[in-house]
């Protein structure tokens, strides 16, 4: 394990619990590389996309798991394969298109050709070249195409959502989520076919874990997101719950908006711009849907790779794609359901304006993550505080707690061995 590093850094988690988080957890490149191995490439299921993105056999989407480029593709038999985008020959990331439709994959470098499962079909000049009636050069006799396919990932699909794992010994997707998270997953993906509404993509110059923490932090929405507060979508006194899986890695923030009226007397976080009004009130033309079964917002963090969002009528997946310790790409996939009326589709699209890089609400998150990273880089020996609601890790029936962040770091420490 020894690197050629003259000053070996052994990060030590000094605090007894996870109510303090050392800044090196966000700034250390070696830690980041270990995270990729231990959290993204082993023992975890990572999000790759929606079945609705590749409806026809031969349709593919290029995406990433951690920092590895992968391709999600629909086979002729309608099943979904995920293969690594690295040619078995010279290691090139051969697939350059984001989306497409193919019969097979061909690396442009030497035209090695793979079927939709990633099996190598043939290689140019395998038998050499014919000159004067004799074959010259080519692959040795013992070369077998079956030894040189693309790396194939394990795939799990549920409710139209596709997850994959490089680790073929990973537990089942259902066990990975655990019963509590699975019930909220199935609430949102209840078997109806999904329809693809569109994407937002942004690069956020901050550590990827900050995005998970952002959606495990119910303290900030009513304080940072003045848009939420001003227009009554978020209130600290909303009926709410914080739930986790048994490992504390996944979480759900569940909240139910009150009557919708602006009865200001009950809230500690005042709607301080009472006089402001939306020029187009249709942004908040919320229609209660039967599948909600109560909650008006459920924000799920599935560790490490994805956030599943229901914020009233806006539903999306948010894919976390790290690139180095201090940056990640954040890809939002907005979707709907096959039985949506045209009005509902319009409503979902309108409400999607709250989200994404320039969203009325989410623009704030991109910025605070960037500025947090700046603070960490400035004094990596320091630590942050996550003590709201106590030092314990427990489910709550209110929003004034950082328990989900403490839970995530308890799991992180266990897996990372720090």
């Amino acid at each position: 394990m020894s690197h050629e590093n003259p000053i070996p850094m052994t990060p030590v988690w000094e605090h007894e619990d996870t109510s303090r988080i050392p800044f090196w957890a966000y700034t250390d490149e070696d830690i980041h590389k270990q995270e990729l191995e231990k959290l993204f490439y082993k023992k975890h299921w990572c999000y790759v996309g929606l079945e609705a993105e590749i409806p026809q056999p031969g349709d593919f989407k290029r995406t990433v798991i951690g920092e590895r480029s992968v391709i999600m593709v629909r086979h002729e038999d309608n099943s979904i394969y995920v293969v690594e985008n690295v040619c078995a020959h010279r290691g090139m990331r051969f697939c350059r298109e984001k989306h497409g439709h193919v019969k097979s994959f061909t690396c442009p470098y030497h035209q090695w050709n793979y079927d939709l499962e990633g099996k190598l079909q043939g290689v140019p000049f395998r038998r050499g070249v014919k000159q004067d009636g004799k074959a010259k050069g080519g692959m040795p006799k013992d070369f077998k195409t079956s030894d040189h396919g693309l790396t194939k990932l394990l795939v799990a699909t549920r409710g139209g959502v596709v997850f994959a794992s490089f680790d073929h010994d990973v537990e089942s997707f259902e066990d990975f989520l655990g019963p509590t998270m699975l019930s909220y997953f199935d609430r949102m993906f209840n078997g109806r076919k999904l329809t693809l509404l569109g994407y937002n993509k942004q690069r956020i110059p901050g550590n990827w874990k900050l995005m998970q923490e952002n959606i495990k932090d119910p303290y900030h929405p009513g304080l940072l997101h003045t848009w939420f507060v001003t227009f009554g979508l978020w209130r600290a006194d909303n009926r709410s719950e914080l739930k986790m899986d048994e490992h504390f890695r996944h979480a759900a923030m569940i909240s139910t908006r009150g009557s919708g009226g602006k009865d200001t007397q009950t809230t500690n976080v005042s709607s301080f711009k009472e006089s402001m009004q939306l020029n187009d009130p249709s942004f908040l033309d919320v229609e209660v849907e039967p599948w909600w079964d109560g909650p008006t917002a459920v924000m799920m963090t599935l560790f490490p790779s994805v956030i599943l969002q229901q914020q009233v009528n806006s539903v999306s997946t948010r894919h976390i794609q790290p690139n180095g310790h201090g940056s990640f790409d954040f890809v939002w996939t907005h979707f709907g359901y096959e039985d949506d009326t045209p009005d509902m589709t319009e409503r979902r699209l309108r409400q999607a304006n709250l989200f994404g890089p320039a969203g009325f609400v989410s623009a704030d998150d991109g910025e605070v993550i960037e500025f947090s990273q700046q603070g960490f880089e400035q004094k990596p020996f320091h630590r942050s505080l996550a003590e709201l609601g106590g030092k314990e890790i427990e489910e709550t029936d209110h929003m004034v707690s950082e328990t989900l962040i403490r839970g995530m770091y308890a799991y992180w420490r266990k897996v990372m061995g720090v």
């Binding site: 019969k103 097979s104 061909t106 035209q111 050709n113 079927d115 079909q121 043939g122 290689v123 140019p124 000049f125 395998r126 038998r127 070249v129 014919k130 009636g133 074959a135 195409t145």
Partner: protein
Amino acid sequence: MSDNWIETISIDDVPEDDVIGVTVNGHQIALYKVEDEIFATDNVCTHGHALLSDGFLEDGEIECPLHQGRFCIKTGKAMSEPLTEDIKAYATRMEDGQVFLKFR
């Protein structure tokens, strides 16, 4: 010759147990000679668009040099992965030391 038999090349120019590429009326054609019999197919592979005449003739099948897909030289049928589409095979006859071919 009557009908639409088209004269191509000399029988002696088709290598024994092998293949040669020729252009006939603008079509790229592969001619094969096996035990003094002549066969003709399209010369461009339906998969990677390589010339089959650069490939290998074995057991009555031509193997494409690019991705090793094999076609039957008598029928043009695609015999193996990664091929999904047949090539055309053409009738041939030999006369006066020449190979004739019919596009039909």
